[in-house]
């Protein structure tokens, strides 16, 4: 499988509503960061149009804050949203995260993916394969050492 950068979820809600939860601060503040991490609604800046700014603050349970920044790239309700997103404001935000919404019988299929020009599936696959090979290599060396 090479789905490391593609995450798909079937949601039992109409596509228009799902799109709203992605693009309206009063909704976004609720789910972004999960229930464990507070995202104050007044910290959100969501100028949802191509070239518009995104800004959010996550308040961690220990009081530390994480600043998020980004820029909307494509806004095509209710089927498509693309935005850059980084927790390192000031640094290169990377290529956009893509949100694709498809209507299904039970609601909406939401697919989140990172533009593949940044990291290809092949690169990701190779990273994991290379890592596993290295671990195997270490295991072989350890076996040899123990056999001596």
């Amino acid at each position: 499988m090479t789905d490391y950068f593609t995450i798909t979820r079937e949601l039992t809600a109409p596509r228009e509503l799902v799109f709203e939860t992605l693009t309206r601060p009063e909704h976004f503040a609720v789910w972004f960061g999960t229930a464990a991490i507070e995202v104050p609604q007044d910290s959100l800046r969501m100028d949802v149009r191509p070239g518009g700014d995104f800004h959010a603050v996550m308040v961690l349970p220990d009081g530390n804050r994480i600043n998020w920044a980004g820029e909307y790239v494509t806004v095509d309700p209710p089927s498509h949203l693309a935005m850059t997103l980084t927790d390192n404001p000031g640094e290169y935000a990377g290529l956009p995260v893509l949100f694709d919404l498809e209507e299904t019988d039970s609601g909406t299929r939401l697919t989140i993916s990172q533009d593949r020009a940044d990291f290809t599936d092949e690169q990701v696959e190779m990273t994991i394969a290379g890592y596993n090979a290295f671990v195997d290599d270490i295991a072989t060396v350890l076996e040899r050492l123990q056999a001596v």
């Binding site: 039992t12 609720v30 989140i112």
Partner: protein, 120 residues
């Protein structure tokens, strides 16, 4: 800082020859000429790829002045692998929250879904 290392790692892995060299080195250290043999490549070309891999911290070279065997160093691979896992976990957790929120939202405001519901 971490992002730079990640970019270096993925960039080094973007070339099929360099990936093949890493595969070779995963089987044990090798000299430039040993690496070059199965590839039908010049020693200079192999050395160039090794320098890129070295720059990304994926390969270290021995001190033997004449042969300088190359060894795989997989720590950047581990970091990249961990980053990939973190990325997936971040969005999976957020989608769990979004899913739960949508369910609550629809119970609170049934009108939000009226458009989509067929009338009974």
């Amino acid at each position: 800082m971490a992002t730079d290392q990640l970019s270096l790692t993925f960039s080094a892995l973007s070339d099929p020859t360099r990936r093949a060299i890493l595969h070779r080195l995963a089987g044990g250290q090798a000299t430039v000429s040993e690496i070059a043999r199965p590839f039908d490549m010049t020693l200079a070309a192999v050395s160039k790829h090794l320098r890129v891999l070295e720059g990304a911290g994926l390969v270290s070279r021995g001190k033997d002045a004449q042969y300088r065997p190359a060894r795989l160093d997989a720590r950047p691979l581990a970091a990249a692998s961990e980053w990939i896992g973190d990325y997936a976990r971040f969005w999976e957790a957020n989608l769990d929250a979004l899913d739960a929120y949508l369910n609550v939202l629809q119970q609170l405001t049934p009108s939000a879904t009226d458009k989509e519901k067929p009338h009974d």
